[in-house]
C-alpha cells in the first residue's frame, strides 16, 4: 500500500533523509519512531506530496507521489503535527468545507460530516466554533478532516502529541476503530508503549536513516539481544540452572524474583527443546513463558548505534 524506495532529502548541506526505504502492506498500522529531527515529518510530507525528495521514489496505493500528486491526495488522508483551524466556522462547517475541497457532492457532505463527528466523538460539538475547541478536540477534528474523502491510507504525524492521557487513550481507540475499518495507517510518535500496543509494524529512523523496519515483535527481537524465557520450577532449582547453563543455545541465566530468566538464541522450536531438556531431567516445570523485549529497548539500541 505504501512503498518508499531510497528516499533522500537534502537541505543545503544537511541530509534530512538518507536513502530511506520501507514498505507498509494494506491494513497495517505502521509506527514511525525516531528522535526529534530524525526525518519522520520529512518522510510523511514527501508521502503526502507536499515536499519533493532529492532522490528516491515513494508510492501511495500505487500512485507515485512525484508524478501523480493528485492521485496521492485522493488516496490518503494527512494529519500534520502542527496545524491551525479557521475562525468563524463550526465543526460541521469545517468538515463540510474540506469535503467540498475533495469535490464531494453537497448532498453527501452533511451525512459525511455527521458520521465523522460521531466517529471521533464530537457529535455534541457539531455547532461549536472550531477555534474554541481544546487541543485534544482539535486533534480529533483534524483526524475527522483527514477522513472526509474516505482514504485508504492515513498519514498521522504525532497525532497524540500535546494530548492529556485521557485524550491519548481516546485517540488510540479511534485509531483502532479505523484499523478495523481496513485503513492502512502510518503514525509517527514518541509515545512508544502506545505504538507497541497499537502498531502491527514499525520503522525506527534516526539521523535520516532507517535503522530497522518490519513487524513490531520481529524488530524488537532483532534489536534486543536474543529472546528471554521465564521458567518456574518446583524445587531442584540449582539443578535446573545447571541444566540450562549447559545448553548451547542459552546465553545467560539469572534468578529474578524466584523465577529463572534465561536468554537464548533461536526460535520457538528452540524454546520447546529447552523445556524438553528440563522435563527429560525430571525437573517439574510449573511455568514456562517467553518474555518479549520492549520497544523502548529496541528504540534505544537502534538509535544509539554509531552512524558511521
Amino acid at each position: 500500500m505504501i512503498a518508499v524506495q531510497g528516499l533522500t532529502k537534502v537541505y543545503g548541506h544537511r541530509t534530512a533523509l538518507d536513502a530511506v526505504s520501507f514498505e507498509v502492506p494494506k491494513g497495517e498500522i505502521f509506527g514511525f519512531v525516531g528522535p526529534n529531527g530524525a526525518g519522520k515529518t520529512t518522510t510523511l510530507r514527501i508521502l503526502a506530496a507536499l515536499l519533493e525528495p532529492t532522490a528516491g521514489r515513494a508510492f501511495v496505493d500505487g500512485a507515485d507521489v512525484m508524478r501523480q500528486p493528485d492521485l496521492v491526495h485522493e488516496r490518503l488522508g494527512y494529519m500534520p503535527d502542527f496545524f491551525g483551524v479557521y475562525d468563524q466556522l463550526t465543526a460541521t462547517e469545517y468538515l463540510d468545507f474540506y469535503a467540498a475541497c475533495y469535490r464531494i457532492p453537497r448532498a453527501r457532505r452533511t451525512k459525511i460530516a455527521a458520521d465523522l463527528l460521531e466517529l471521533v466523538g464530537l457529535a455534541d460539538r457539531r455547532d461549536q466554533s472550531v477555534d474554541t475547541l481544546s487541543r485534544g478536540l482539535k486533534q480529533r477534528l483534524c483526524l475527522a478532516r483527514a477522513l472526509v474523502h474516505d482514504p485508504a491510507v492515513l498519514l498521522l504525524d504525532e497525532p497524540a502529541s500535546g494530548l492529556d492521557p485521557r485524550a491519548r487513550v481516546e485517540m488510540r481507540e479511534i485509531l483502532k476503530e479505523l484499523q478495523r475499518m481496513g485503513k492502512t495507517i502510518v503514525i509517527s510518535s514518541h509515545i512508544l508503549p502506545e505504538l507497541t500496543e497499537l502498531c502491527t509494524m514499525i520503522g525506527i529512523i534516526d539521523q535520516g536513516r532507517m535503522r530497522a523496519t518490519g513487524p513490531v515483535q520481529e524488530v524488537i527481537r532483532e534489536l534486543t539481544s536474543g529472546r528471554r524465557l521465564r521458567i518456574m520450577v518446583m524445587g531442584r532449582r540449582d539443578e535446573a540452572l545447571a541444566i540450562l547453563k549447559a545448553l548451547p543455545s542459552i546465553r545467560t541465566v539469572d534468578m529474578i524474583n524466584g523465577a529463572i530468566e534465561a536468554q537464548y538464541e533461536g526460535d520457538d522450536a528452540m524454546a520447546a527443546s529447552i523445556l524438553q531438556a528440563l522435563t527429560a531431567a525430571g525437573i517439574s516445570v510449573s511455568g514456562f513463558s517467553q518474555l518479549e523485549g520492549g520497544l523502548e529497548d529496541a528504540f534505544l539500541k537502534a538509535t544509539s548505534e554509531d552512524v558511521g
Partner: protein, 345 residues
C-alpha cells in the same frame, strides 16, 4: 458543474465569505468607507454651496464635475489602502496558521486556492464600490457628468483595485510572512498609483516642433489609474502633465505646452532651469482632442483604455507568478502523468 465553473467558484470563496462576513470588522469597514466617502462628498458639497451663495463663479455643472473628480480620486486612494490589506495576507496567513498544507492535500488545484482567495477578497472590494454608488449619484444633482463617465471611472477603479489585489496575492505567495507581504503590496500599490505618475514628471515626453501629432505623456504613466480618472472627470486633453523637459532631459530647453481657453495650445520655450524665457508662442501644432491619447504607443486610445489594458497585463503577470510560486512542489506540468494514464503501479 463544468470545469470552468468549478475553477471559478470553489469552496474557498464560500468559506472566505462566511468567515469574513461573520466578523465585526467587515460591517465596520463598510461603514467607515461610506462615512469617509460620504463625508468628503458632503464637505465638498457644503463648500460649493457656500461659495455659490457668495459669488457666482461657475455653473452647477462645474460643481458636479469637481465633486465627481474629488470622489473618484478619493475612492481610488481609499481602495489603494484597503485592497492590499485584504489580499496581502491571503496566502501567507494560511502558511502562518499552518492551514495551507491541509488545502494542498485536497483535490483543489493550487490555482483554485489562489483564485478563491482573490475572488473572495475582490468581492469585498467590489461590494465597497457598489456601496459608493448612491454617493456618486449625488453628482447627477448638479449635472456636468454623464453616465458613461461614471461607468468608465468605476471600470478604471475596479480594474485598478483588481490589479492591486492580484499584486497583493502575488506578494502573499512570494513572502512566507504576512508583514513583509503587506509592506511589499503597499510598496507596489504606491508605485502603481504614484510612482508611474512620478515617472511622467521626471521623464516627460519632449515636444518635437516638427511632430505630426500632439505630444502625450510617456506610456509608463498610463499605468496609474489617477491619470484616466482625471481625464474622465474633466473631459479635457492632458496638456498639464508628462510633456516638456524633465530631470532626464539633459541640458534643458524644449517647450512646455498647456491648453488655452480657446482649445489651442500654448507652448513656452524653456531654458535649462525649466523656466519660460519668452512670452507664449501660439503655434498651431496638431491638437489633442478630448481624452484621446494623441501620440505614442497607445495613439488613438482613450487614457482609460490604455490604463485598463496595462493593468490587466500586470494582473496577468502577477497571477502567473503567483501560480508558479504557490504549489508546494514545483513539478512542471509536463513531468506529471495525466490522471487517465495513472492506473496505479
Amino acid at each position: 458543474m463544468n470545469r470552468v465553473a468549478v475553477a471559478l467558484w470553489n469552496p474557498i470563496v464560500a468559506k472566505e465569505y462566511r468567515s469574513r462576513m461573520r466578523t465585526w470588522r467587515s460591517p465596520v469597514a463598510m461603514t467607515v468607507y461610506i462615512l469617509l466617502l460620504g463625508g468628503l462628498g458632503w464637505a465638498i458639497f457644503s463648500a460649493m454651496s457656500a461659495a455659490a451663495r457668495n459669488v457666482f463663479n461657475g455653473s452647477p455643472a462645474n460643481y458636479g464635475q469637481a465633486l465627481f473628480l474629488s470622489l473618484v480620486i478619493f475612492q481610488m486612494v481609499l481602495l489603494a489602502f484597503i485592497t492590499p490589506a485584504l489580499t496581502a495576507g491571503a496566502i501567507s496567513s494560511e502558511r502562518e496558521r499552518q492551514t495551507i498544507d491541509l488545502l494542498f492535500v485536497t483535490k483543489l488545484p493550487s490555482f483554485s486556492i489562489l483564485w478563491g482567495k482573490l475572488l473572495a477578497s475582490m468581492s469585498f472590494v467590489f461590494l465597497l464600490l457598489l456601496l459608493s454608488v448612491p454617493i456618486f449619484s449625488l453628482v447627477f444633482l448638479f449635472g456636468g457628468i454623464e453616465l458613461d463617465q461614471v461607468l468608465a471611472a468605476f471600470l478604471v477603479t475596479a480594474v485598478a483595485a483588481l490589479t492591486l489585489g492580484v499584486i497583493g496575492i502575488a506578494c502573499s505567495t512570494a513572502f512566507r510572512r504576512t508583514l513583509p507581504a503587506t509592506v511589499a503590496a503597499y510598496g507596489a500599490s504606491f508605485i502603481l498609483l504614484a510612482g508611474s505618475l512620478l515617472y511622467g514628471l521626471l521623464f516627460p515626453t519632449s515636444i518635437d516642433p516638427n511632430a505630426t501629432a500632439a505630444p502625450a505623456p510617456p506610456a509608463v504613466s498610463y499605468i496609474s489609474p489617477l491619470l484616466p480618472l482625471v481625464t474622465i472627470g474633466t473631459s479635457l486633453p492632458v496638456t498639464w502633465y508628462g510633456i516638456g523637459p524633465g530631470f532626464g532631459s539633459g541640458g534643458g530647453g524644449g517647450m512646455m505646452c498647456s491648453g488655452t481657453p480657446g482649445g489651442g495650445q500654448s507652448c513656452v520655450p524653456l531654458n535649462a532651469s525649466g523656466k519660460g524665457v519668452a512670452s507664449p508662442i501660439y503655434r498651431n501644432p496638431p491638437q489633442p482632442t478630448g481624452t484621446t491619447i494623441p501620440s505614442g504607443l497607445f495613439a488613438g486610445w482613450q487614457y482609460w483604455q490604455a490604463t485598463i489594458t496595462l493593468q490587466l497585463l500586470i494582473s496577468l503577470a502577477a497571477l502567473v507568478l503567483s501560480a508558479i510560486l504557490i504549489p508546494p512542489t514545483r513539478r512542471p506540468p509536463w513531468a506529471r502523468r495525466t490522471r487517465a494514464a495513472a492506473g496505479g503501479s
